[in-house]
Symmetry: C2
Subunit: 124 residues, 2 copies
Amino acid sequence: MSNAKVLPLLEPDGQGIVPCCPPLTERPMTANEAETAARMFKALGDPVRLRLFSAVASHEGGEACVCDISDVGVSQPTVSHHLKKLKEAGLLTSERRGTWVYYRVEPSVLAAMGRLLTGPAAAA
Amino acid sequence: MSNAKVLPLLEPDGQGIVPCCPPLTERPMTANEAETAARMFKALGDPVRLRLFSAVASHEGGEACVCDISDVGVSQPTVSHHLKKLKEAGLLTSERRGTWVYYRVEPSVLAAMGRLLTGPAAAA
DNA sequence: CATCTGTATCGATGGGCGTCAACATAGACA
DNA sequence: TGTCTATGTTGACGCCCATCGATACAGATG
């Protein structure tokens, strides 16, 4: 339940987050780079997870209570399962405040994935 | 074997390609939008596919012969299988020229996915 | 303490997917 | 025509994963 990343994909580095890989178009990715980056894409490769992620990302302040976003047509355990996956992929962090648990997007991750696809054009 | 998209994700629109969805952070994605966008992320969510895609994207002219990129540690049928998936996802197109088949990235797709993640910051 | 609500975990199940060997197909060339 | 190379397809196998109901855990409140 702590906030420790289970599967850090963009390795946390003291303060910031270091991009795992160069842009896709720069050179062929190595096996290790691909392994790392694919985990992020895979995490967004499920419609329910993508909706949950978008719901958090677009929510006021970039964070949302589970109760705010759990209306995606699947059971509560399934919602919890997907949020865990997104957390393990380093895309979300969670924090319990009283009764509710709030999920928050890791902003630098979005920028890093953008750079992976489009190169430096994707600013932070 | 033709170049017709099996599963167009960013609907082709005459000349260009229309983005399927607004940026993730703009508003919660609808079920249909998520279904569409998740297919693209899913296609990149496998390490072998990601390496193949990166190999094509980073190759001279944005295109590559299968023989140039098939050294990713899996069998030839598996390479063919993954290239087909990438093609079905609208990320690659293919064209046979004589003996060899060339795969080419759909450039606007990269920009569209970038915008999905980072908003308008990701230019073409 | 008991109870209620919100969220996570467990165990099971069904379907999807990555992989391969074997085979099929397409073009080039003799 | 036959053969060789390059690539795609088929069928099977094993594993991962999305989903659920049941249950457990956490915090609030009485």
